[in-house]
Symmetry: C2
Subunit: 147 residues, 2 copies
DNA sequence: TACTTTGTTGAGTATATTAGTCAACAAGGA
DNA sequence: TCCTTGTTGACTAATATACTCAACAAAGTA
């Protein structure tokens, strides 16, 4: 049940854009450096995000990438969906025809509930939520005063 | 984020035992036949369940396997845990030391919530729940009258 | 225009995991 | 004793993962 690096790194990449993409394009090499991912892998992670219209880009000197929407409009469920494909724990959830037992299989029901539970988390969290959590983590002492 | 066949088939194996293990040991070949899994693979699926004390067995003619506890005492979280290992979507959830970012990584928090959500489903479902769902599915027409 | 910087794309690859099979063995019942 | 059944470990084909390499395309700069 592991998420692949695509899903995990890709989410970090988006968060990085949300945090650092306020003024102009963010260069892939900067993302690579901050997130400690090779530039070459970052290039591949960003491709499906651009294809999905979640990220925009421009080439050439001073080029880079940025979020196509504001962070509060980007749910993690979309991001993970683009990066990872379906998060269904079994193929039969997305396509009942892949298993002849689908009609009467109760374990299938459970895998479906598992997917629902995950969708619940990822569908209710936006990049903006991550940004805010990050800010709180970066200033643990200051936040303490408000608790 | 797929569950492997071990987790899926193994859960079906346990459900099969809950459904058919009322009178004496259930033979692996019968499970294999009903669940449409090769006998050889069933043999391998049952091994960790026996090792974990979830299933008991006896060899020889008329041998077989059976649940060590009653179905309502067996949570799916235990079963999947034995069969699949941890369901954590990322290694850093089980062991923060595997990633130097664990202390301040907010995406890690989300993967942790994902695990919690899955634990919520699997921890609140027992084999007995599956048995009851199965009974309802097998008699869809009769159930209709009660809805 | 020429050059440099940056993103884009596709091919290739080492490693690990999955999903099994094969075969020898152990033990219990008839 | 023989047959039936579970136990165990070695082995393997196929697939997925997690990348790297390298050629290319487009946009800015001098």
């Amino acid at each position: 049940m592991k998420l692949s690096t695509r899903g995990r790194y890709g989410t970090r990449l988006l968060l990085d854009l949300a945090l650092h993409g306020r003024d102009g394009p963010v260069q892939l090499k900067d993302i690579a450096h901050r997130e400690q991912i090779s530039l070459q892998y970052v290039q591949h992670l960003v491709t499906p995000l651009i294809a999905a219209g979640m990220v925009r880009s421009t080439r050439g000197a001073r080029g880079g990438v940025w979020l196509a929407k504001s962070p509060q409009e980007i749910k993690l469920s979309e991001a993970v969906g683009v990066l990872e494909g379906s998060i269904a724990p079994a193929e039969c959830i997305d396509d009942p025809k892949t298993c002849p037992r689908s009609d009467f299989c109760v374990t299938r029901d459970i895998w479906g509930e598992l997917k629902e539970a995950m969708d619940g988390v990822l569908g209710s969290t936006t990049l903006q939520d991550l940004v805010e959590r990050q800010k709180r983590k970066q200033r643990p002492v200051e936040v303490m005063y408000y608790i």
